[in-house]
């Protein structure tokens, strides 16, 4: 009984996911006005041929700043957690 219920739940979930997945356009994104603006004006505005880089570093620079900050915080956290403890024991006790 329990396996039957499991199979039923799995098949319903899979059918729902496949139904959503087959409705999406695959590999052919819709055209929007932002795409047209970037494709038409990115070369003149930023002077870079790669439109993706001109979006990442110019139009949406804040995203890249946040990304760099996330990496910096990760590095700080890892070097705090895994810092050298053998010589640092006395220094930690003195504080």
């Amino acid at each position: 009984m329990k396996t039957l219920l499991n199979i039923f739940a799995l098949s319903v979930l899979g059918a729902a996911m496949l139904g959503v997945a087959f409705r999406l356009p695959y590999g052919e994104p819709e055209q929007t006005h932002m795409d047209d603006y970037f494709l038409l004006n990115a070369q003149r505005d930023t002077g870079a041929n790669n439109v993706v880089t001109s979006i990442v570093f110019d139009y949406r620079g804040f995203d890249t700043l946040g990304e760099a900050t996330v990496l910096f915080v990760a590095v700080v956290g890892i070097s705090l957690i895994l810092r050298r403890t053998h010589e640092g024991e006395e220094a930690a006790d003195e504080e």
């Binding site: 070369q43 505005d45 790669n50 880089t53 910096f72 590095v75």
Partner: protein, 155 residues
């Protein structure tokens, strides 16, 4: 797990990985790629050395200090370039070098073309800053993990 052949072949591939990452970084405004991707490719070279068992070369204390300098200077250069737009009278992240005629300031022809390296304004400099920062950051993560593992094993 540690073989001498794998170690030597990894040390042969190490400079090629670094140079390819630097190519992806410096040509970020012309070809696919950019600072983050190129920095990750450069850090893959360090990961290759670590995984292949040659990590005594990469784990020396001086190199860790050098990676930390890379990380800090990259992030500082990135933020300074972003603030430079405000100094020139624009907004934060304003591209104040583009089409100015000076360093990286040539205007690019419209339409699909091969492009020149001397274009893009602040974008190549920001690419370089982010590339150096990502390279230093991921290298610090890897090297710190390996050093902590070795210290834990040695007791």
């Amino acid at each position: 797990m540690r073989s001498r052949i794998v170690g030597y072949i990894a040390s042969v591939f190490y400079p090629f990985c670094l140079v390819f990452g630097l190519y992806v970084v410096t040509h970020g405004h012309l070809t696919p790629g950019g600072g983050f991707q190129g920095g990750a490719v450069m850090a893959t070279a360090v990961a290759l050395m670590i995984v292949s068992g040659m990590f005594t070369v990469a784990v020396r204390e001086k190199k860790v200090v050098r990676y930390k300098w890379c990380e800090a200077l990259g992030l500082l250069l990135f933020v300074a370039l972003a603030f430079g737009g405000m100094l020139q009278g624009g907004s934060f992240f304003h591209n104040w070098l583009a089409n100015a005629g000076g360093c990286f300031g040539e205007a690019v022809a419209a339409g699909p073309n091969g492009g020149a390296l001397n274009t893009g304004g602040t974008i190549p400099l920001m690419n370089l800053a982010v590339g150096v920062e990502v390279f230093g950051g991921i290298s610090i993560i890897l090297v710190t993990m390996v050093r902590a593992m070795k210290e834990n094993r040695d007791g």
